[in-house]
Subunit: 772 residues, 2 copies
């Protein structure tokens, strides 16, 4: 059974009632972040029950020594892991000397969590009767500032309800933290100093090996019934923790309020004087106060929502889900920092190391392209450009040469981290997605400068890789790619994965075409590029001849391209025939059985139809969809969105809706029973794609937006906004018609169901939907 | 460069001169064992330099928790490892209070080790000047009794050469030992008790988890210039070690001699009263004395050599090598205990866990069949029969049913230990070798009872596995085996590995044929077998139809069977073109590159020609040999022997000799630079095969021995003995002729170069060789 405890609401994620078995899941779901740091919804006060403590700083990682059963030459030495960082949110509370700990309270009532996605504020409140019979009301409000991404703020209030009480408040900074997923149980942090100054404290720490230095800081102000308190504290210190101990006598029904400001200053984006910078952050925060910071937060989120919101009328669970997805994407990646990227779990857990996968290019880019200034998407491209040399080094490790690049499957700093030969060495299609993102960016933004200045070097290095990776089959008289793993990781070490061969072929064509256009425009630029990337004439010639001789497996019997050479050798039957108790097969079948089965983890051949829609006819799409969809088990969170877009494009709105539901509430309803480990951030972009590219049918072709609006039966209407060429297009689709509106100064050409329209600025265009 | 320090000798392995860099290698090479326990050639006295301490007890293992990078469903939880056992050989020596330690002696001269293979006695002697300037002569003689495999004996002598000296002798038993290859650095042994009685001491220990209980014991007698000493000692004990401290004043040039008797009594083959049994062993040993025990040892080895020796005249290095190989095989497996098997490293190291591989059935069985009473080979078959239920459980784990069995790739107690999906789940041809061994045993011995009583159940369970593992390819209209790894582990997850498909087809045929013959002989027996193995009528029918429709990949262009479906898709060029610096490729190329290369680790398609020689014509053999041999890199120690046999069969004696050399001195000359980790025991049987089945061309066909004698140019003659149907055939092959002689009561039919001869008992048959 899926979980079903999140209360539906248009803007909020709500949990009511305290249940120890839900604590870890809620810690993930109620996570907050601001693109630079993140925090699981751990309690401020003590909690002795099951919990995954998690505070994360973007870009701070540790090279954890690789763990394998059997070493294969070419494996990386290290897996760069996002680190659980020193805890700055902690406040120990003692009521008449009894530590407040929800795992030990005889009675808890009115427990409620509420994450307001409109402004990124997490609230929690409860009434508890403690073992010492004292009844207290607790309320906490917390956010990480989007406006200044090195500041976080907590308002923590306690009211004794049934008697006067002596309350000790012990806010702290704790560097004695660990990673649950550490390979060898090593310590990742070295604590350099712990110090106090007035109401503030500072913890200076540095990561072993990577030597990232950070200062975690806190400042605490106290109020009783809104009256500020100025009293002394006792400093408590050990090797890795600093705390300030305050004692208060609180009258029955009076409220003690703590305002704790804190966060991280790291040397990644600052000078070494991290403590000095922390002091400035405290001074700014003090001037603004909690309410002032909150105002900035509300304002910042309001700007984000203005463009990225999707409104769904008539389906409150769908509404909550899509906003949750958009909210998390914005929490994870702000686009401000070119060294950061979008980890599959964002700042919500340790698993998958918070590293970068091909998910970014293949699934996330469209969302950021359409809802953020182009600098944000450009930062994502730039990230890979900056890692080009490391991708070349990675290829050298495997035996490639002459500047061929294989981008890593998983990375934090450009180096490959993954260590499973069938993935690390063989899932090489990732190179294709990275090239595709460059193409996608240019197509969407119209900005050609990136391609010429940086993108072309990435394309050349990737094409060099394909050049060496293909070999000529004497039997087929074609170039073949042997020993690969496609997006469908349920087949390994196969030959001629259609998707991989196709995207490789496209890569080569796009590289040659780009080179040609640069050459035609400016011979000098061309020469510079050729020289810098050491691209020889014979390489160019071989690329030219290779591109037309790339083998693409095809079945005449079924009239479809084959996922791989030997796909039809399998015993093929539809996924609907799998015994329900065997699902998901990745939890219930041996790897041996999965590999030999015809079942597909995620869009593979169909991914080609998503990326290269225009290369195929609708009839071809239908043939492939009808062949592969029934075999797909969607056991990757990245699968249903692609199927949703293709289904919508084929007019199968019910199917598209079914797929949409499978991703949109994946985490809220915990379909995979693993939300406690963190959220599926990258697949959240897929939910957005399902709506905008799926139901609304948005495409960009030759500098224009195209739409083919459709709407699920259950919805009254849905509305979204698209930032396109510096103007905002607002789109609202009801059961009968679609309304477009442009925020901007220029009129906009657009195509609806392939018919051209022009919208004037600040005017509305209403077009009747075509029924499917 | 290969090592080259072992001095050539017909019967002895000799090392002269002390070199710290050779200590670990020599510890392996000079290992001694008696089929039940084994001991690396560690020094009795202290040694602070690089050393791999190793004392092993057959059948005592520990389930070490599996270590993997990425877990796959179906992996075993544990890897059963052979354990480094409590050390019983240790004797600390102090000369005027300075500990004797060869790593700390200013001068060492006349260091010499000598392993006399004729009687399994290891001697070591040296003269050392210690830091305190005292010069001593030390000599140690050690053996593990073949006669009573729970007894070991050491004679340790010290003579001060330049002054009188106070010498402390501290023999001990030490349970504070570890495995170097432990996955998680866990302790494997719990020490239960340490006690002394008179000159003896006892250490009772038990393994964690597996709860094997053992008693390690020692008894020490002292002599000065052969005069027995009776004096008191001080007992020293800590948590895991017990020692007896003796002090002596030894005159210059007088000799102190210690006779230390010790070994292990385990509950595997004894009652729980292990200490009582140890006391009995001590009492027996004391009565016999060191010299008495040695006499029994010489006698026991002489019996072994009488049958298993191979004499080579004219090539002392080859002579030393073949005796070393035969010696090690006999040390490793005596055939006395059905729970033991032949670990790839025997009792000489920890690596590969001392477990059982398909090596036993595919490479070792012929040696034991031809040199031991048939009960020994039968014990090897019995071992797998006893593990049948675990093989069925292993298959269930992977999704098979109805009593299908998949024997483990690596095992100690029948459970699969290996955890690499491409091997564990896919290298399923091992099932074939286990069936082949049953066939081979029956063919060689003529004993049909085993097959009917036990073997048939193994065959049925294996055939059930093939029945479910093949699937019908609609394209090929044949049964295919998808996703396998053949003996060539340089290709993984391929389709239709010729060797695997062929042996599977043969298995099914052999099973059906055996069932048929049982049915024709005795319907009641047949019924019992069918019932016990739950073999249904429809399974039998499907096996019948399947066997004729098994796909065997074949190339019309080259007229050869293909190693796998897509072998010809590769870029194929001969191994001779690999840059020398890239060899061995498994150390110098990435796994990615190896997998895509056409290079073959060990006989794969050619293994089929070895097992099923009679199924193919000489012309076919030649075509396949000429196609595959140039692609084979022989990076498995199991490869050259098969090629040697096939080359000899094709009349290519020079090639055969080249391959013979590659295995015979593999460890003595440390070709793979890894001898320090232990010896390659199972491949040693391959050396024997190269001579007997290769050069001498011995085969068994229809209850007769066949020979086709050849001889390498370098040899004057070679002689070996074959135990066949209770008689010993002595074969001597010179450059010109071959002489046969039978020890026994009956005359023997035999075929030489396909011509029939009859030899009378105790007479000689001399036949001129056919020149090739």
């Amino acid at each position: 059974m899926n979980q079903n405890y999140i209360i539906a609401d248009n803007w909020k994620i709500i949990e009511e009632g305290f249940d120890v078995s839900r604590v870890e899941s809620s810690e993930s779901i109620f996570s907050i972040a601001n693109g630079a740091m993140g925090q699981r919804a751990n309690f401020e006060e003590d909690y002795s029950g099951q919990t995954l403590q998690g505070s994360y700083i973007g870009g701070v990682y540790y090279p954890d020594k690789t763990k394998v059963g059997w070493w294969k030459n070419g494996y990386p030495e290290y897996f760069a892991k996002v680190l659980n960082a020193p805890n700055w949110i902690g406040i120990q509370i003692r009521i008449e000397n009894e530590i407040l700990d929800l795992n030990n309270c005889p009675k808890i009532t009115d427990f409620r969590r509420e994450l307001n996605m409109k402004n990124g504020v997490l609230k929690r409140s409860f009434t508890a009767i403690m073992k010492n019979k004292i009844e207290i009301l607790v309320s906490s409000t917390r956010f990480l500032s989007i406006d200044d991404d090195e500041i976080g703020a907590i308002k923590y209030e306690i009211t004794p309800l049934n008697q006067n009480a002596r309350i000790s408040c012990i806010p702290f900074l704790d560097g004695g933290i660990k990673n649950k997923d550490s390979n060898w149980d090593e310590k990742f942090w070295k604590i350099n100093s712990l110090s106090s100054l007035n109401q503030s404290a500072f913890l200076e720490a540095e990561t072993y090996k990577t030597k990232f230095k950070i200062c975690s800081y806190m400042n605490n102000d106290f109020f009783i019934d809104e009256k500020k308190q100025n009293l002394a504290y006792k400093e408590i210190k050990d090797d890795c923790k600093i705390a300030h101990h305050y004692d208060f006598n609180i009258q029955k029904k009076s409220t003690l309020k703590i305002i704790k400001i804190g966060g991280y200053i790291s040397t990644i984006r600052n000078t070494k004087k991290t403590v000095e910078i922390a002091k400035k952050k405290i001074s700014i925060s003090s001037k603004l106060g909690f309410e002032g910071l909150l105002k900035l937060q509300i304002n910042a989120w309001s700007k984000i929502w203005d463009i990225s919101d999707i409104k769904i009328d008539g389906d409150i669970k769908a509404q909550q889900a899509i906003r949750f997805n958009i909210f998390q994407l914005n929490q994870t990646y702000s686009g401000k920092h070119a060294d950061l990227n979008i980890g599959p779990k964002g700042f919500t857990g340790e698993k998958y190391g918070g590293s970068t996968y091909w998910d970014t290019e293949a699934y996330c880019l469209p969302f950021y392209l359409a809802t953020k200034p182009k600098s944000v998407a450009k930062n994502l491209l730039q990230y890979r450009y900056n890692h080009l040399q490391k991708a070349i080094d990675n290829a050298i490790k495997l035996g490639f040469e002459n500047g061929a690049a294989l981008y890593p499957m998983v990375t934090m700093n450009g180096e490959e981290c993954h260590n499973e030969w069938e993935i690390t060495f063989e899932e090489i299609h990732r190179n294709g997605a990275i090239a595709y993102a460059i193409y996608n960016y240019q197509k969407y933004t119209g900005d050609k400068s990136y391609l010429k200045e940086k993108g072309i070097f990435v394309l050349i290095a990737i094409s060099k890789f394909w050049l060496q990776r293909f070999n000529f089959s004497e039997q087929k008289k074609k170039y073949v790619l042997l020993g690969v793993t496609g997006p469908n990781e349920y087949e390994n070490n196969i030959n001629n994965n259609f998707y991989t061969n196709y995207i490789a072929k496209w890569c080569i064509e796009y590289t040659l075409q780009t080179l040609n256009s640069i050459k035609n425009n400016d011979q000098k630029d061309y020469k510079k590029i050729i020289d810098k990337s050491v691209l020889t004439k014979s390489e160019v010639e071989k690329l030219h001849s290779m591109k037309d001789l790339i083998y693409l497996p095809f079945s005449k019997k079924y009239n479809v391209y084959l996922q791989q050479d030997d796909f039809l050798e399998k015993d093929i039957y539809p996924a609907s025939k799998i015994d329900k108790k065997d699902l998901p097969i990745n939890q219930n079948w041996s790897w041996d059985r999965i590999l030999r089965s015809p079942f597909i983890k995620q869009a593979d051949t169909l991914q080609t139809f998503y990326f290269f829609e225009d290369h195929f006819s609708k009839k071809e799409l239908k043939l492939h969809y009808d062949f592969y969809e029934p075999l797909t088990v969607h056991e990757s969170s990245l699968s249903p969105c692609i199927h949703s877009v293709l289904a919508a494009s084929l007019g199968k709105v019910d199917d598209a809706y079914k797929f949409y539901l499978r991703t949109s509430r994946l985490d809220l309803d915990d379909y995979n029973k693993e939300v406690k480990e963190g959220l599926h951030i990258t697949s959240m972009a897929g939910t957005w794609i399902s709506i905008v590219e799926g139901f609304a049918g948005m495409r960009v072709k030759e500098n224009n937006l195209f739409f083919a609006p459709k709407i699920p039966k259950k919805w009254k209407s849905y509305t979204f906004n698209i930032l396109f060429r510096e103007q905002i297009l607002r789109v609202s689709i009801s059961q009968s018609s679609t309304t477009f509106q442009v925020d901007g100064k220029n009129s906009m050409d657009l195509y609806v169901n392939n018919k051209e329209y022009v919208i004037k600025p600040n005017s509305e265009l209403k077009i009747a939907n075509i029924l499917v």
